[in-house]
């Protein structure tokens, strides 16, 4: 039975993903900053899906602990999914560098730190799958998602580069760019329903994309075209827009 590692396992998307892979007979490794929170999910997954489920402490910001964290995983995962990320208030982040710094370090530096470890291991093994949950916000820089968008743009570029680098070793990298998702992160935002996915839809899409070895997916199909349109607006015009 293959094993899936979920980094940042307390988010709604991560929980949905853990259940989806478990339902399809994968053993699960849940990694989160507060592992105690995940004890009920651990028993739930083991009982519902009759797979093994382990919980590990993992702090994306504690870069120096990442090598020993990966060392401690037994067995090593066949699929690693990087779900963690934070989205703070943009105005607050713009005014307070500490917040900006934390967003960058979590969404980009932390992700690169742990994925570099995993990528090295996978390329040595000549197999493995890495999934990164990035965002459509990283497709083009704009004022309303200034910092968050930049961190995700960097992460998307990293994932694309990693895919290129690992291809020759038979390691696959999937970039996921969900549009709006109905989660705790977006609880207080008014989201247009047709463009908003449920966490279970994201999980289903990721599971299917892993089976088909897709490179990049958007969860709701409209997002691919919306982002294409947004990317094609000439900069002289784009800079004047309020997006």
């Amino acid at each position: 039975m293959p094993t899936v590692l979920i980094l940042g396992a307390s988010s709604d998307i991560a929980i949905a993903m853990a259940r989806k892979f478990a339902a399809n007979k994968h053993n699960i490794q849940l990694a989160a900053r507060k592992p105690m929170d995940l004890k009920p999910l651990q028993s739930d997954i083991a009982i519902r899906y009759q797979v093994s489920c382990e919980v590990y402490g993992f702090d994306a910001l504690a870069f120096s602990t990442h090598p020993s964290f990966f060392e401690s995983l037994n067995p090593k995962p066949d699929i690693s999914i990087c779900v963690f990320g934070v989205m703070e208030d943009e105005d607050a982040a713009f005014e307070n560098f500490e917040i900006t710094h934390r967003m960058i370090d979590t969404n980009f530096t932390g992700a690169v730190s742990i994925l570099n470890q995993i990528a090295q291991y996978y390329s040595g093994q000549k197999k493995g799958i890495i999934v990164g949950i990035s965002s459509v916000a990283g497709e083009r820089g704009r004022q309303s998602k200034l910092i968050y968008g930049s961190t995700k743009a960097a992460f998307s570029a990293y994932l694309a580069g990693l895919r290129n680098k690992l291809f020759k070793d038979g390691v696959h990298v999937l970039s996921v760019k969900p549009g709006f998702v109905n989660t705790r992160m977006t609880e207080n935002l008014k989201l247009p329903k047709p463009l908003t996915a449920e966490p279970a839809e994201v999980a289903n899409a990721v599971y299917a994309a892993v089976q088909k070895k897709k490179n990049t997916i958007y969860v709701k199909w409209m997002w691919r075209w919306i982002m294409l349109a947004i990317k094609n607006i000439p900069e002289f015009q784009f800079k004047k827009m309020n997006l």
């Binding site: 307390s10 709604d12 929980i15 507060k34 929170d37 009920p40 999910l41 028993s43 739930d44 009982i47 519902r48 705790r184 609880e187 207080n188």
Partner: protein, 445 residues
């Protein structure tokens, strides 16, 4: 998130701020920072019991802690639905000890309403099978209760409409089954006299319920079909069924796509429906083996069937009358029939004895009827309330959206004791619903 919410009857509809949580720590924080709220599960109670300007949704709090497959003991958080539990336990040879007519309710809802099923006369209500549970109180403190540990909290939580706190863990006993099939028997009764006699004669059956046509007058008054069932043993199954006796039923569901205009349900269409329902059984008795889903959850196959009552919604009226007052049942059915306020579905069932403080069931006949909301309905139901009380009966809070506080008080002799316990564990009425305010269960502030 701010949104419009309603329970299953689509009446009333209110604006509410719905809060969600996945972990205990989040729940603790939410309770601390929310001035007033009511816990809410899947919204399958009919009226306003889980409606409030702020609700805390339990739906993401749905984990299983343990499942003892040898002794049949299940332990979970309150947001898991019975539907999900069945998927886990049935293939292992276990079933819910008690289940209402829909599997889309949460365990928290099953406890808060202390639900009953077709087996009440044999197995009692849901709370009779609880070993113990943890409740997170309005103070944020979590305490364990059972019939022997903090029994006051336990008793006030079973059927207490969520007013004592949030059930963070419930542990209950399951029922052993050999197969996922039900040996079903249907018997037609020509009138009320006959159906009551049939209930008495068949009380050894684990499951029994009757569908009753309340629009028939004269000699056919109370025309019904009695539906009886037992979990089928392996040797009662056909060769094909025997191969995988604990198979889960396949998931085929259709959905009611929109609200029917409210004029669709009128005495004529209801009569036609009832006629067809009664006539579909051509023989007096019909016995067969059926999957558990159509037996326990016939309406779950039609998602959003509540839309059939139109956008004004409906109320379900469910009461229980002591066994010795058949006259009361007759009087109520006669009034409904005379009024022609068509009830699509009327369900009759016998309750066994039950010792409870605030739970609905007590020994007697219980009848549940649906009424589409329209002008004059509530005045009529107020009249029915008086008949129910006159014969020593009471109403079910889970179905209620309009009862007056004095009607509740008259039906539940231990109501004052219940209120006392609620005010001990939920001192400032922090946990409150539109219903609890309407029925004076939480202090009006």
């Amino acid at each position: 998130m701010e949104k419009k919410i309603a329970n299953w009857g689509n009446y009333p509809i209110i604006d509410a701020d719905e809060k969600k949580f996945s972990f205990d720590a989040q729940l603790e924080k939410l309770i601390a920072e929310t001035p007033h709220f009511i816990p809410r599960g899947n919204g399958r109670c009919y009226g306003d019991a889980s409606l409030a300007p702020t609700t805390i949704s339990t739906l993401k709090y749905d984990n299983i802690f343990s499942f003892d497959k040898i002794n049949g003991i299940f332990e979970c958080q309150c947001g898991i639905t019975l539907d999900q539990i069945l998927e886990v336990i049935v293939p292992q040879g276990w079933f819910l000890p008690v289940t209402p007519g829909t599997k889309f309710i949460t365990v928290g809802g099953a406890i808060g309403s202390d639900v009953h099923g077709k087996n009440h006369h044999v197995d009692g209500s849901f709370s009779n099978h609880i070993i113990d549970m943890d409740i997170m109180l309005a103070s944020g403190e979590t305490i364990c209760c059972s019939t022997s540990q903090n029994p006051d909290l336990f008793e006030a939580t079973c059927g207490g409409m969520g007013l004592t706190g949030m059930v963070t863990r419930a542990k209950f006993r399951l029922k052993k089954i050999e197969s996922s099939w039900i040996k079903q028997k249907q018997i037609k009764a020509a009138n009320l006299e006959e159906i009551l006699k049939l209930f008495e004669e068949n009380k050894h059956y684990t499951y029994s319920v009757a569908w009753i046509d309340c629009l028939k007058k004269g000699a056919d008054f109370g025309r019904s079909i009695l539906i009886l069932g037992e979990h089928a043993t392996v040797n009662e199954l056909s060769e094909k069924q025997e191969k995988d006796p604990l198979k889960l039923p396949s998931k085929k569901q259709i959905s009611f796509p929109f609200n029917l205009p409210s004029w669709v349900l009128n005495p004529l269409t209801v009569k036609a429906f009832n006629f067809l329902y009664y006539a579909k059984n051509t023989k007096k008795e019909l016995s067969n083996i059926v999957p558990y889903e159509p037996f326990f959850y016939p309406l779950d196959a039609i998602l959003h069937w509540n839309r059939g009552y139109g956008k004004k919604g409906f109320v379900q009226y469910q009461f229980v009358l002591p066994l010795d007052v058949k006259q009361g049942l007759i009087e109520i059915l006669q009034r409904i029939s005379a009024k022609g306020l068509g009830s699509f579905l009327a369900v009759l069932k016998v309750f066994g004895e039950q010792k409870s403080m605030i739970s609905f069931p007590k020994e007697g006949y219980t009848l549940a009827l649906d009424f589409p909301v329209r002008k004059g309905l509530f005045d009529f139901l107020d009249e029915l309330d008086q008949v129910v009380l006159k014969y020593g009966g009471r109403l079910y809070m889970s179905k209620d959206a309009r009862m007056k506080p004095e009607v509740l008080a008259a039906g539940y002799p231990e109501l004052e004791k219940f209120k006392q316990i609620v005010s001990t564990y939920n001192p400032k009425g922090k946990i409150r619903s539109i219903q609890s305010d309407r029925l004076f269960l939480t202090s009006q502030q």
